[in-house]
């Protein structure tokens, strides 16, 4: 008989039964419940939520690129009140930590969102300071260490719940941004958000996306994401949710070995709706093969 593999991890106060969660904006519980037993996931991170409803950007909002996709959704969401009253009850049926991704136009809005979401059924917050597709807030906050400190401090002051700060790769020095988030009281970091990119439709001779520029995700960005996790994990003493092009358990392992405590599956959900479950099974199988009894042994093993 083989020994049990312990896949449990703790993400800045959030107990996860395994390291696998989903990337905000790529997964809805009601949409994926026919394919995935949500109770098996380590956590669910829901779509970016704002104070007021957002319509999002004009179409086309998605464009396929080599082994990747560009998107410019633009934080389309029904607003925090609808989330609390109509969406959260759905997740309460499940035994899975729910992490809410929040995005504000101003520092104050981040604080207000954190207050409103200080309710039962919300396990933690992911502070989105890295969305490339909105004019205010978003990436504008996540590329300046002083702004990062302000936003994170506002959220920290407004909630006792675990605060995860989602970082943008579109910076010169991601470690400086990570340190700013840590100083301001973050419990964990998630990285990376999408890479700012664009494509041109040669038939219309115009930008392919409705919002001209968009965020690149998918396997194409994985090496960039692994590099970011590698750098941040060694510099900052906070648990990390690694993400960026994770399609398989092998991809997830790269992130864990680079220093991620948890991993988020994003674009892969669109391709294989069971990707999260395949990855959980794959992580367990790898541990058995390698004689690893606790997956935590692998976190940062590539540099420890």
């Amino acid at each position: 008989m083989t020994a049990q593999v312990n896949l449990k991890v703790n993400l800045g106060g959030i107990e996860m039964k395994n390291p696998v969660t989903v990337a905000s904006g790529t997964f809805g519980g009601p949409e994926y419940a026919p394919y995935v037993d949500l109770n098996r996931l380590g956590a669910v991170v829901v779509k970016g939520t704002t104070l007021e409803p957002r319509q999002g950007n004009p179409t086309p909002r998605i464009w396929e690129t080599p082994a990747g996709i560009l998107n410019c959704i633009g934080l389309m969401n029904p607003g925090v009140e609808v989330f609390l009253h109509e969406h959260l009850p759905f997740y309460r049926q499940y035994d899975v930590p729910v992490i809410v991704n929040i995005a504000g136009n101003t520092v104050e809005e981040y604080g207000l969102l954190a207050e409103k979401l200080n309710v039962e059924g919300v396990a933690g917050l992911e502070v989105n300071i890295s969305c490339p597709n909105v004019k205010k807030g978003g990436m504008a906050f996540g590329t300046d260490p002083a702004m990062v400190r302000e936003v994170v401090a506002a959220v920290r002051a407004a909630t006792p719940k675990p605060v995860i700060v989602k970082l943008s790769p579109n910076v010169t020095d991601i470690v400086a941004i990570a340190e700013a988030a840590a100083t301001a009281g973050a419990d964990a970091l998630s990285l990376i958000n999408t890479l700012l990119g664009m494509a041109i439709d040669i038939r219309t001779r115009r930008p392919a996306l409705g919002n001209v520029m968009g965020g690149l995700s998918g396997p194409a960005i994985k090496p960039v994401a692994v590099r970011c996790v590698w750098q941040v994990a060694q510099a900052v003493d906070l648990p990390i949710v690694g993400m960026g092009g994770i399609m398989t358990a092998a991809d997830a392992l790269e992130f864990i070995l680079a220093g991620a405590t948890a991993v988020a599956v994003g674009t892969a959900n669109f391709v294989n709706p069971r990707a999260t479950l395949d990855i959980i099974e794959g992580l367990e199988a790898y541990c058995r093969e390698e004689g690893i009894t606790d997956i935590k042994e692998l976190i940062g093993a590539a540099w420890k």
Partner: protein, 265 residues
């Protein structure tokens, strides 16, 4: 909604870039209704490029036989790869997805209007409507005779009256299918209509039917990500009382929408 490995039982090249695939996919076939689609993984197994699935309308639904038919036109890399699958190959399918057509009651007169490859989801619709005892007039337009031949409308439906139009006049009515509809719609006086095709055609149909106060449904297309309503990429504009418009998801709120609601830019 299922994830199913469908087995390709027949493949046919129809000319003008049109292809027909008959797929054994019992779970999808049993649950499907006209107007729905399958999200198909194209390319080599485990290949990450192209990455996304391709949404393809169900052009035939055979519940008892456990088969579905896909009729599609090669427009890019994904459909090109899909066109190279062989008989016996397995296709990774998600489906049936989306909201299908609302079926009218027995005895109603319906106009079904299709343009080019937009005819695909209308074939099982016509079949179902005929079975239900509706009086169906199917207006089908295409660029020319060869395109019409590739669609093989006579083979795809059984029953209902078929009226054809070609832009160049090489078969049927010479001109746009919407002009044909305008000419014939008066005496036919439909109770309801269904349309699928290029946006200019949908716009013309929407306007004409609004003038005649005939309710109906439009099936829309948009670049899609997940296919299940999670990624919010494939949205269309619909009328609302509160705002100039609101976005709805083509993949899960549609692809079929009430014609009166849709705002076609």
């Amino acid at each position: 909604m299922y994830l199913e490995k469908g087995k390709v039982r027949a493949r046919e090249e129809r000319g003008c870039g049109y292809y027909w695939l008959e797929i054994e996919s019992p779970a999808v076939a049993a649950a499907a209704v006209p107007g729905q689609f399958v999200h198909v993984r194209v390319g080599e197994k485990e290949s990450m490029d192209p990455l996304l699935r391709r949404p393809i309308s169900l052009a035939r639904i055979e519940r008892e036989k456990g088969r579905i038919g896909l009729l599609y036109r090669v427009v890019g890399r994904g459909t090109k790869l899909l066109s190279s699958v062989c008989e016996g190959a397995e296709l990774d399918l998600m489906g049936p997805l989306g909201r299908g057509f609302t079926l009218v009651e027995k005895g109603k007169r319906v106009a079904v209007i299709g343009g080019g490859i937009g005819a695909a989801p209308l074939f099982p619709l016509v079949a179902e409507l005929v079975d239900r005892g509706a009086e169906v007039k199917f207006f089908l337009g295409a660029a020319n005779h060869s395109h019409l031949q590739a669609l093989q409308p006579e083979k795809m439906i059984r029953g209902g009256e078929l009226v054809l139009a070609t832009d160049d006049g090489s078969a049927g009515f010479a001109g746009r299918v919407t002009d044909l509809v305008r000419q014939e719609i008066g005496p036919f006086r439909p109770d309801f209509f269904y349309a699928c095709g290029p946006v200019p055609m949908l716009r013309a149909v929407q306007q004409l039917m609004a003038e005649l106060s005939v309710p109906g449904e439009l099936s829309l297309e948009e670049r899609m990500g997940c296919g299940v309503g999670a990624c919010l990429a494939c949205v269309c504009k619909v009328r609302t009382a509160e705002a100039p418009f609101t976005y709805r998801k083509v993949c899960s709120d549609g692809p079929v929408f009430p014609a009166g609601e849709v705002l076609l830019d």
